[in-house]
Symmetry: C2
């Protein structure tokens, strides 16, 4: 037995190895990226580590995949080279920031020696700090690992902020630091974010009293419930009280949609009328971790009276007009789940829309948006995870009955086109038991659809439904022009280009049934369904939303005719 | 006749129309972009204007196309929506900054009213100014057109800076400002950048004396000669003195390569030895507008003695160790062209490498990199403009004898993969008489190659040569791993996906000849040559350069084995 008075020799470690260790310890299994000379040394290390390196076609794909991975697994990593790699993921990092997804951006960079000696090294924009300055705008913490003394602490600090804030962070790794040997002293933990006990007690007391006294309370789950790992606590509250529960678009599938207390999606005019009326008619709307964005609120068609709301978000609880600060969302949800609240009779609450029965009697009928989503609703199973790109793919998917939780991914606030296909790669690697069902418009597919190449390379098998209607349907409803057209591709021929996959052209209901059956049976590779829709045929939800957005734009004067 | 004492009523104009007018007056004919709701109003205006709107598959493609257009035509425009559009072109804008290409970024944005009323509008990252802050890092001037009083002046100011600095600028157009009617008062012109006459006279006197006294002077043309429109003045100097003239990689084709004074590419170990020896052995190297970057200097294998150099760049002239400030590049080149300098005897200077004779006797021989470029050299004609992606496509192309000036485009400093295919769209629209010959690696093609969709849509006909060697060949020579592999695509099948174009698979010399002949004859659409190369077969230039980069990296400790 070692003499307890002996001081252990400090552990020495290389900076690149320490970063890999810490990521692994935090549950990361995959790193998404594209190589480049400034990051080859670190990628070489990853390749020999327990982490799996996943190379996408373009950095944009890696950024979206890491975002999806983070949403599923709690932390995602994208690894790129300097400048030409880093700046390509400004947008995907911006989305992770907006939608609270903890993505670690690791960028290789010129060595410290190169920086000192040469003003004009390739991949440099303005100064050597240009990329850092850009990412300071898009992340909650950033560091350049330029100092052996502090490198390990900086890694710890930045990763801790990502986990606490659930937002992206930036780590720049000069190539001469990858193998620099340093003392592995861990950073002191971040000061915990704790509630002020007195404020918390008062806040919970008022909230509990309000809920208990309400005639017809309702819960609306928002995205922070999933991000902060509060799904279980929220379920305890729901199951103890049987309060009817809706979700926002950004948090769809926070609760399995066969749950007896689930009533549907609340999103103003975007959701079903009976859910909107039930929520807006409630005398106590308990919003848990919901972001009140324009899309979550159906283009601001939602009508929530703040006086009748209890709104819990990170670090803050509003009960009517009373604002409580220094109260943590975790403590509020736990507190309400443990509170003495009466059990409700859920019988008067709306039930989720029944799945439209799928008759098989019209195999030659041209496929419509409504029939497509009706058929997909019947096709859903708990091993499928639905991933929707912005546009009618997302709006149409809003009412799909997703039983799995989490079982739905979409950038329903920041709304960057091109997310869904690369996200499917990240999601399936994060949750190997599932198979992605990707819904994506033709315009968005032309942005990032070739990332199915990455699915082939890593043996993944998403089912990809391309809503092919000749362009940007959402925008046509706001203001149309040739700019909303895209070149008609023969999407089902993608397997010919990639040398793998199965493609199906779907023009009728019968062809859709056949293609979905074939996709079910074909589990070895991706299946792509090119679903040819009438360009004027959009989901009712989109029609309502676009009407609202169009009115808003015209009112602002931007699209009126001169 | 109007009474001259009458003051003309101030012209009233809508902000969006004024921006379009000014772009048109500055020679812009095309705007590249992808629509989104915040920019629909402005795109609608463009569509009804004299400008042609060119919609690419992804914003990245639009950014690269606008960059190429700017290099060919003096100003380029990329137009995108807020957030999801703007942040996707951070990288292409960074490249335009690094390589001095005047690109105007026009981004739609939420209305001023929306910003005031709602904290969470879609496509927003952190604050409404996040995108502006990012572009401040990547441009030389930026503005948000939020004030009717100043909108026209701001447009003038920002465009003037782009033209003066030859670098990108950023204009954010809130959607409620597009049709705001304002008084069209132009901004006062920027103060001209003039030389200090006394400094200029002294600088020219010393430079002229040095050149006149030199035994064997040589000129090296750099990128600023083309950017600042000094090609004609430089040619006057060259033709009056017959001083042998080389170019840097970033400025290849600044002078037609059949010009009697042209000796070849100067790029350290990257160029041919006789050019390097001639330049480095000269007692007076006149560098005109050259950026001394690592790639221009062949990975710092160049050995230029500053004591024997005259180095003219924007605003500065170095004669040996004498630095003259406040002298403009234009004045220096004009001054030298008009100076009394002796005529030289060019007979001892190296001549450009003769084109390797193409024997037709080995049609079954597998194609090699050397034979590919030999055959392309013979294929070149003055209606072709060569566009090379970074990597061996660029290095192999370095010695192609480009007769047209300008006839060569490549991001030879910033080196962002994926440039060449979208750049071909911008270049051909900027110079309709030319046909692009695109050289691109398989890895880079997987990033942006589907932008050939845009070529189809706008009736363009590039010839695209994919150097298909199974991955990132340049990186393999530095440090190899599975991360340098890409999925083998059947590139010649792209026309099946896009529904247009011609594809050729090339494995032998005979197939290359046949494909090039067919591509010559097929002028209605793009032609794609999938040239299957041995993964280990790279150009000699790349082998030399990678050796240098590898040594640098190993010396810096990043890729050594632990």
């Amino acid at each position: 037995m070692a003499d307890p008075t002996t001081i252990a020799a400090p552990r020495r470690v290389r900076v690149g190895d320490y970063l890999i260790e810490r990521l692994r310890d935090l549950g990361v299994g995959h790193v998404f990226g594209v190589p480049g000379d400034f990051v080859l040394g670190f990628m070489h290390k990853i390749e020999r580590s327990e982490l799996t390196l996943v190379n996408t076609c373009d950095e944009q794909g890696a950024g979206f995949a890491a975002d999806a991975y983070a949403r599923m697994r709690g932390l995602g990593v994208v690894c790129v080279t300097y400048g030409v790699g880093g700046l390509k993921i400004a947008n995907t990092t911006g989305q992770a920031y907006a939608e609270e997804s903890p993505v670690v951006v690791v960028s290789g960079a010129p060595s410290l020696a190169e920086r000192a000696l040469h003003p004009l090294i390739h991949h440099k924009v303005r100064g050597y700090d240009t990329q850092l300055r850009v990412f300071e705008q898009l992340t909650v913490a950033s560091t350049v690992l330029g100092d052996s003394e502090t490198a390990c602490r900086e890694i710890d600090r930045v990763l801790a902020v990502a986990l606490r804030e659930k937002r992206p962070v930036y780590i720049e790794l000069p190539r001469d630091m990858v193998d620099a040997e340093v003392v592995a002293h861990a950073a002191p933990p971040l000061p915990p974010e704790v509630s002020d006990p007195a404020v918390l007690a008062a806040a919970l007391a008022e909230a509990t009293a309000r809920i208990a006294a309400a005639r017809r309370p309702v819960i609306v789950l928002g995205v922070e419930v999933q991000r902060f790992g509060l799904t279980e606590a929220a379920l305890r509250l729901i199951e103890r009280t049987e309060i009817p529960t809706a979700v926002t678009l950004l948090d769809k599938s926070a609760i399995g949609e066969r749950h007896p207390s689930f009533i549907g999606l609340y999103a103003g005019a975007l959701g079903r009328d009976e859910v909107r009326e039930y929520v807006e008619g409630s005398d106590c709307v308990l919003l848990l971790g919901a972001l009140l964005t324009d899309l979550n609120l159906g283009g601001f068609t939602a009508r929530l009276d703040p006086a009748r709301c209890i709104h819990a978000t990170r670090g803050r609880l509003e009960v009517g007009y009373h604002v409580y600060e220094r109260v943590q969302l975790t403590d509020v949800v736990d507190g309400l789940a443990a509170a003495d609240l009466p059990r409700r009779d859920p019988s008067r609450a709306p039930r989720p829309a029944p799945i439209a029965p799928v008759e098989n009697g019209r195999p030659d009928a041209p496929i419509t948006v409504a029939r497509l989503f009706g058929r997909l609703a019947a096709f859903l199973s708990d091993d499928l995870i639905v991933i929707a790109d912005p546009g009618d793919a997302l709006f149409g998917a809003a009412d799909l009955p997703v039983g799995r939780s989490p079982g739905f991914l979409a950038p329903a606030y920041y709304a960057s086109l091109g997310f869904a296909v690369p996200a499917a790669i990240g999601a399936q690697l994060a949750a190997p038991g599932c198979r992605p069902l990707v819904l994506v418009g033709d315009g968005a597919f032309q942005m990032t659809g070739v990332e199915l190449s990455t699915a082939v390379r890593y043996g993944l098998n998403p089912i990809v439904v391309v809503l092919n209607n000749g362009g940007y349907a959402t925008e046509r409803l706001i203001l149309d022009g040739a700019f909303n057209d895209v070149l008609p591709w023969d999407f089902a021929r993608l397997p010919d280009l990639l040398g793998a996959g199965r493609g199906f052209r779907v023009e009728t209901e019968g062809e859709l049934d056949a293609a979905l059956d074939a996709a079910s049976a074909e589990t070895e590779t991706y299946c792509l369904l090119d679903v040819r829709l009438d360009p004027k045929d959009v989901s009712p939800a989109l029609r309502r939303l676009a009407g609202r957005l169009s009115t808003a734009a015209a009112g602002a004067g931007s699209v009126s005719e001169p």
